[in-house]
């Protein structure tokens, strides 16, 4: 029977409101910058079978990971799920599909003695133990080095906290106050979700709510299929590369083939490199989530995000490949690979939908950890994920300085970093000329420079990429500038560092993270000279780049030289 279209709309809003209310609770009660400022967490509402009904306004690439993770809880605790319970886990090979710092919590919601739903949250913890603070080291070779592995556990048993869990967690992490506070924030969010859903059940009855959840997922599926059906049928391929895994210098290939048939889309990664020694292996659930985020971005942004949307999407990834690793492959820094997967998928989608999809952005997930001990022996961990900028779009420029659409991650205020950590940030700015030229140019890459000021030494650990393979342009647009890591030692000597490294960071040294720029879209010589001139006036590009990349002359007086521009541009036309 076709569901009541009016009720559908009402319940859609009600479920979304609950997931968002949960998200607001996490932001307001969390302790770490990575959660409260950067918003590296997610909230969701799932049906008793483990299907995602609604996701809070949080991290898109977490979207696909709730259902498989809850499935492992359901399997292990079949028959032992009671009101007041809370379950937690973080192990990617036992379900979570993310990495150890991401702790999942699930709270069953009962009404009238019946299991109605699960409230769920993921929080990225500032530390999870292991050999390197922050839990993101690239040079781990097995997951055992990456920190505390938590299998599916009951951590609150009918309202009573299981001390063993909290005690073990507290002892294994470097900043227990922060981590326990953040786990509590995610549990508080689930409690809020529980309260709100029970209020809804009181009003509508529990059976009706379960039916509404199913209808809402069917509705999302129908909307998604309608959009997919309007896309052309066919197959499109794209490849992009990661520089290396931090051990060998070999590039890592991400290959994707998108097959669109009727209202289904298959994304096949066969041909992608095997899993690697370093920790950039991407567990399958996050590979799927990355694909979901890309496909979600080419259809109506207002469509409700739930398991129904995922049904017409099929992901093929060979077991043992970097996009479907086998235990005990390390996965801590898998965020880099996730970004590259989204870029490859968008690259293929751009061929299918050339008027819709942007050129490659500098998606980032450039992880910086600075950790050590203060003079009074208190530990500190600065954990930052840097994101950059978008690629040029088919009808307009990229947005300068905006997080990847797949993560919508925020930054941490410089003043907050300096207040909480023995670190000074010397610069946070856009890099001139880092954008890929195009009729619609790519976005400018960002730079962030750190100086250790408050302690004698610390560990500096960085995971980054795009030093060798630049973010691609489309339709003749240039690629964005490469990323780089630079260190200025206390004697003033500058050294270049690879994408993935760990080293001692001494007081007075300055580490400079330079993110890549976004790729351009279309022929740069077709860009309106006025727009080039504006960019020169804003020092976003130099006069040299204007002439070389765009064929636009700006005089010494800073004024647009129309005749000179015409000369440059016609010279190139003649050369073609």
């Amino acid at each position: 029977m076709k569901p009541d279209p009016i009720r559908l709309e009402l319940m859609k809003n009600a479920f979304a409101a609950i997931a968002d209310e949960m998200a607001a609770t996490v932001v307001r009660t969390a302790r770490s910058s990575v959660i409260k400022e950067a918003m590296d967490f997610s909230t969701g509402l799932l049906d008793p079978a483990g299907n995602l009904v609604a996701q809070g306004l949080c991290l898109p690439v977490h979207m696909g990971s709730f259902p498989p993770t809850l499935a492992t809880v359901l399997k292990k605790f079949d028959g032992q799920i009671h009101p007041g319970d809370v379950f937690a886990l973080n192990d990617p090979y036992l379900g979570s599909g993310l990495h150890l710092p991401d702790i999942f919590v699930f709270k069953p919601i009962f009404y009238d003695g019946k299991l109605l739903a699960f409230a769920a949250a993921i929080g990225h913890q500032t530390d999870i133990g292991g050999r390197v603070a922050g839990g993101n080291a690239c040079d781990n070779t097995e997951i055992f080095q990456e920190g505390l592995r938590i299998p599916p556990l009951k951590v609150i048993d009918q309202g009573k906290p299981v001390d063993a869990f909290f005690d073990i967690l507290k002892l294994n992490v470097r900043v227990p106050e922060t981590v326990i506070g953040d786990v509590q924030a995610t549990i508080a969010a689930c409690t809020r979700g529980e309260r709100a859903l029970i209020a809804l059940a009181k009003k509508h009855g529990s059976d009706a709510i379960v039916t509404d959840m199913a209808n809402l997922m069917d509705y999302s599926e129908a909307l998604t299929r309608a959009e997919f059906s309007a896309f052309p049928d066919g197959a499109w391929e794209f490849e992009d590369f990661l520089d290396d895994d931090g051990f060998s210098a070999d590039p890592i290939r991400i290959f994707t083939r998108i097959i669109k048939e009727g209202s289904d889309i298959t994304v096949d990664f066969t041909g992608t490199s095997p899993q690697v020694k370093g920790s950039i292996n991407l567990p399958i659930a996050m590979t799927q989530s990355s694909v979901y985020a890309c496909l979600r971005s080419v259809i109506d942004p207002g469509l409700p995000t739930n398991s129904g949307f995922m049904r017409p999407i099929h992901v093929i990834a060979e077991s043992g490949s970097i996009v479907h690793p086998i235990s005990p492959a390390p996965v801590a820094a898998r965020g880099l690979t996730s970004m590259r997967v989204t870029e490859a998928v968008w690259g293929a989608l751009a061929q299918m939908l050339p008027n819709k999809v942007f050129a490659c952005g500098a998606q980032g997930d450039f992880g910086v950890t600075i950790a050590g001990y203060r003079a009074d022996a208190r530990p500190f961990v600065l954990l930052e994920f840097l994101f950059g900028t978008w690629g040029g779009r088919p009808d307009k420029d990229a947005i300068d300085a905006l997080s990847s659409l797949a993560v919508n991650y925020s930054n941490t205020p410089v003043e907050i970093v300096e207040r909480e950590q023995p670190i000074r940030i010397e610069q946070y700015a856009m890099r001139q000329d880092s954008c890929g030229a195009g009729e619609f140019r790519g976005g400018l890459g960002l730079v962030r420079e750190y100086q250790l000021t408050g302690v004698e030494e610390a560990v500096l650990q960085v995971r980054s990429d795009r030093q060798k393979f630049q973010p691609f342009g489309l339709k003749g647009g240039h690629p964005g500038a490469n990323a780089a890591n630079r260190l200025r030692e206390t004697d003033g000597k500058q050294i270049a560092l690879p994408g993935k490294f760990m080293r001692t960071f001494k007081r007075g040294e300055r580490y400079r993270a330079q993110l890549a720029g976004g790729g351009g879209w279309g022929d740069a010589f077709a860009r309106a000279p006025d727009m080039v001139w504006e960019d020169v006036l804003d020092e976003k590009i130099s006069r040299m780049s204007a002439a070389r990349d765009y064929g636009v002359m700006i005089g010494d007086d800073g004024v647009l030289d129309v005749a000179g521009t015409e000369r440059l541009r016609s010279a190139r036309r003649a050369a073609e």
């Binding site: 279209p5 968002d20 307001r28 400022e37 922060t178 659409l405 700015a429 976003k540």
Partner: protein
Amino acid sequence: MSTGKHRIAIDVGGTFTDLVVSNSDGSARTLKLLSTPDDYSRAIGDGLSRLFADGTTDPKAVVSLVHAFTVATNALLTGRGARVALITTRGFRDVLEIARLRMPQLYNMDWDKPRPLVPRRLRFEIEERMDADGRIVQPLDPASVIAAVEKMRGQGVDSVAVCLLHSYMNAAHERAVMELLRQHAPELSISTSHQVLPEIREYERTSTTVVNAFVKPVVDRYLASVEAGVKRLGVEAPLMVMQSSGGIITADTARAFPAYCVESGPAAGAIGAAALGEMLGEANIIAFDMGGTTAKACLIEGGEPRLTDEMEVGAGINIGQRLLGGGGYLVRSPTIDLAEIGAGGGSLAWIDKGGALRVGPDSAGADPGPACYGRGGTRPTVTDANVVLGFLNPLHLLDGDMPIDKRCAEDAIRVHVAEPLNLSVQEAAYGIHSIANGAMTRAIQAVSSEIGRSPREFAMVAFGGNGAVHGATLAAAAGISEIIIPPASGVFSALGLLFARIQHRLVAVFWHDVDKVDCEALNGRARQLLQDASEMMSAEGVPTANTELHLVLEMRYAGQSSELGIPIASPMVTRPILDEATEQFHQEHERTYGYCSRTERVQIVNLRLRARSMDRQDHLPAPEALRTKKAHGASAAERPVYFGDRGWVTTPVIRRTALTEQPRQGPLIVEEYDTTIIVPPGASARAVSGTVRIRLDQAE
């Protein structure tokens, strides 16, 4: 004919300019004019001239003139403000443009970031640096400031924002820059971040300071023009201006800190609702204002509208937006916390690709307006649904001033909703009505259940053109049992201005773990705040003896980023008082977030002080006096109304004047000039002190 002394409120919105005059003899007048967007002060002059023309209002007898305006918001929305330059610390000129890197909507490839109010070429870095404790790391190099000033020349700059890192801890460098600017470019308007917003977080502080700089010359000219016009008409009372926080300040203060006034208009309605509640003995209220394109909800607790720390201008209407941010120009200043949703009388109904019925956020606007206005609109709106369902008069509104064509409403709903969804017209209309209610319920939840308040403990004050049509149904959905419909619903925001008091809010950073606080240091900081407040209030003409003070410790668990305000009685804090405040913090955390954690470290982050004049309006306009003109369009004595599950119910229609203190059972429709009140079956309504009170039976 003398009506005694007058208090005048002027609320200038984008479409209408509303005036309310309250006289000391208890009488009152209201006036509604079209706004004059080319020069908003003109409608004010015209309105006042009309009030003064017939002699009942004497300009010399005006004792108070309170104003809410939209000029600052409009400047931001249209990009027509000052040409602003920004001076900032070396390395950070892009903070304003990088912002928080996040967008307010997920998955939208087509989104655009708001254009920075200062282009990159006008953002200048100078040589200086403070650390997080306010210690000078690198002294200010005056030559770098002068170089920046030189570069500004010839660029048309008329306003400068100064925001240096950690200036909230030590403002010495910002002050020095200000001095240099005054010396070398005395013609420039200056806004410094330590004055506008002395708080941590460089993006938020920069953005707020830049907004201030951007609207300052515009607001300055505008208020000067209003003041001159008022003076020309013979009014001697000083012009007072509503801030986003609901307090009023002199026009002079507003000209220095216009960023505090960007939500001037919406604040007035909430203040009015709070004041009405006080008159009626209701301290806990959800104010609900439904107009043509949006609906707004606001929580009033213990007689005070709830405040939020920041808002974004131009971010669009979206509750989720409140969480992510990034969609507009951020202003961090105390602002009455309004949840706004794109559902008003003119909101359009449509069917999405998945076959679901949706309402808003697109609106039919004033032109062509809903289909039933017969002005060429063919797409169905919430008002059309309300006409079809009998909630609104099927023949005319505004007592006959506006004819209604029910057939057009039915046709629009049939073609665009009923037939595609295979529903009857009335089912479709009821669907539109219900979905609008669902969206508005979301706004009510956003200000109540989402922050741990049960709507059941609140009464609703419903106003705005459509507030009373939907109020009772919404209240029922939210579990609210008492609804108050104020007099003069259509100009209620202007009325609210009359109740506002002179107010300043101050903040001082005081960053310490509670168990390590030196009480004397805290008291010293608090006394300094009190002294500053006292000086500011004196400058507004309020003597200290007449100032009411409210001191709050902003507390949180160590590491959190949002605080809860815990009041303390005076700057004579002792250890037991701090312990008591800490206990209150745990309890408030439990209430707001559902848990507390007594073993964790608690921090104090800020001291906040609200200084407010104790002078209140000494007389309230008699609600009866606010009655608008007499009806001339005859209404039927009853009409059929579609109440969902109950189907069509024959419902009596009465004039507001016919309602007495004797409760009348619903279903009932009460009509007056600009308001239609729906009393659903099972509810009852009565007239109380000029308001209409509806009581719902909320069976649990």
